[in-house]
């Protein structure tokens, strides 16, 4: 049923709506149908971007947000994979900890903000801890599931070869959980970016893109808010791309499955 359309046609179709949107935007702005306070002209958005970039250290804000995001993600990811490995490999740890973990993960991420704020204060560490928590949860869940689903015959082989715990973890569980871990890492990246924005909204004021967007709203500067939102989207997009490349890199040794 699905016919393959040529790349050129798909591309033309893909950019139709965005262009249409931009045209409608510009026209409605020029003709004054909508209040420019709600919909600034494209030019104004570009001007705001230029202003933030040159006069107001937009790149500094961005690098702060990214550093928080990456630091939190790495901490959450490493701790998460380690934690999940222990749970998956040790029956006792699994039975002791997993139910509690499953209960705690039901608490919506943002609901941790007040406690994290009291425990870790107004410095960077509170924000990073929050981002780490955001990455931690999906990575643990997926790593755990992936390892629990390790094929029995492989585990048998490990037993026959008298692998010790470390060998079992590194040679059997980790490789067979790789696709699942990749999913977890992907989700972790998405959530940690959401959490970076959340941390900048709800924890102490500091440089960052989230703060920029909030400030824009407080100043009724729609152009500035739009610049911030576009950057949030661009970073989200880049992180997503990155996750895909990472996924295919991590899974490069696997035979192509019927995806």
């Amino acid at each position: 049923m699905v016919t393959t359309t040529s790349q050129a046609v798909r591309f033309r179709r893909g950019i139709t709506l965005p262009i249409l949107l931009l045209v409608v935007w510009e026209v409605s702005n020029r003709t004054g149908i909508v209040d420019p306070r709600f919909l600034p002209s494209l030019e104004e958005v570009v001007r705001a971007a230029k202003r933030e970039l040159i006069d107001n250290d937009l790149l500094g804000d961005l690098s702060f947000s990214l550093m928080r995001n990456i630091a939190g993600f790495l901490i959450g990811g490493v701790v998460g994979i380690g934690f999940a490995t222990v749970l998956a490999l040790s029956r006792i740890a699994d039975r002791l900890v997993m139910p509690t973990f499953n209960a705690l993960k039901q608490i919506s991420l943002l609901a941790w903000i007040p406690l994290i704020s009291v425990w870790f204060g107004f410095g960077e560490q509170a924000k990073i801890v929050f981002v780490a928590l955001a990455a931690f949860i999906p990575i643990v869940l997926n790593t755990y599931d992936g390892m629990r689903a390790a094929p029995d015959d492989l585990i048998e082989v490990g037993r026959a070869l008298k692998f010790n715990g470390r060998q079992r973890a590194l040679r059997i569980y980790l490789p067979s959980a790789m696709p699942s871990i990749a999913t977890g890492v992907h989700l972790g990246l998405i959530y940690s970016w959401l959490a970076t924005v959340g941390a900048e909204y709800f924890l102490a004021v500091g440089p960052g893109i989230g703060g920029l967007v909030i400030a824009g709203r407080e100043r009724f500067d729609m152009a500035m808010v739009m610049v911030g939102v576009i950057i949030l989207g661009l970073v989200g997009f880049t992180l997503n791309r990155l996750a895909y490349s990472l996924e295919s890199y991590l899974l490069r040794w696997r035979p192509k499955q019927n995806a």
Partner: protein
Amino acid sequence: MKLTSILRLAAGIAFAGLLTISARAEDPLVIHVGYAAIGVDNRPFSEGTSAATARAGEFLEKEFANDPNVKIEWTFFKGAGPAVNEGFANDQLDFAYQGDLPSLIGRATGLKTKYLLASGARKPLYLAVAKDSGIQKIEDLKGRKIALQRGTNGHLAAIKILEAHGLKERDVQVVNLDSAATVAALTSKDIDAAFGDTQLINLAAKGSADVIYTTKGDDPRFGRNAGIIGRQAFIDAHPEITQRVVDAFVKAAQWSSDEPNRAALFELWHKSGTPVPILEEYFSKDTLAYRNSPLIDDLLTSQYAEQAVKSKEFELVRRDIDLQGWFEPKYLNSALQRLGLQKFWQPYGADGKPAAS
């Protein structure tokens, strides 16, 4: 400048990596000073208090200019007084300018702090309403949407004003917004009214809202109080440093109280982004010495005692607040004596009248 803050961020990351809350082992002593407000567009400055003068005029930095081992670090809180309490709770703040209700809440919750000197006490409060909201007097607020920042001294003051006009907090719809968000919401008419100070005067001056009431000239007991709060563990560990910090704040209060400095003072406070004419309006008909007095006089202590009772009555705190031993005038008195300022400020009695000294 940028590099150092990025380095600091990197240090913070390394620190968080260890996931420890233990105190950093630092060679130079960093005095962490908090301020329960933030300037326009998040400028790290404020206005209207002697603490704001100390910040903008670098009184603390000058006090320790010859001690390379002592560093001052200021933090301004968008989350105002409640955020300062969080800072005290995890020992990230040593001193802070904080309003009456949050410091009382902190005390009720068991924060070990001391009240060292007054700063920004006797601040008036303003009520601004959105254009075309039809609200002309406080009684009209019934059922309307009002912005407050919960847990700040403005919150308590607002409830007291409502109560004096036969309204309870439940009679209005309270939206929790910080100062900057309040300005935005009032301009866009998302809320009907808001309590606050300079940001509302400014809004009215720009024609985006109307100020319909102020405690200025009304019963002074409707006003708000604030002061410099110190963390007890820090004070006990560094009594000499504490004394010098108090000295610096007293000097700032003195400079802020000298009438010839009025224009220079507003110019200094303008660093917070608040226009000078707004500050002139905010301080009109008040002497600088009245508003910037650091004294822990009978008026102040009785005000705090009353705030404590009221906050219990309004269920803002759920336990009785014991003020016994919280006020620590030792450092203030020593500073006044050494600086020869014993007679500089007029103490007031609990009745709001000048006390015979």
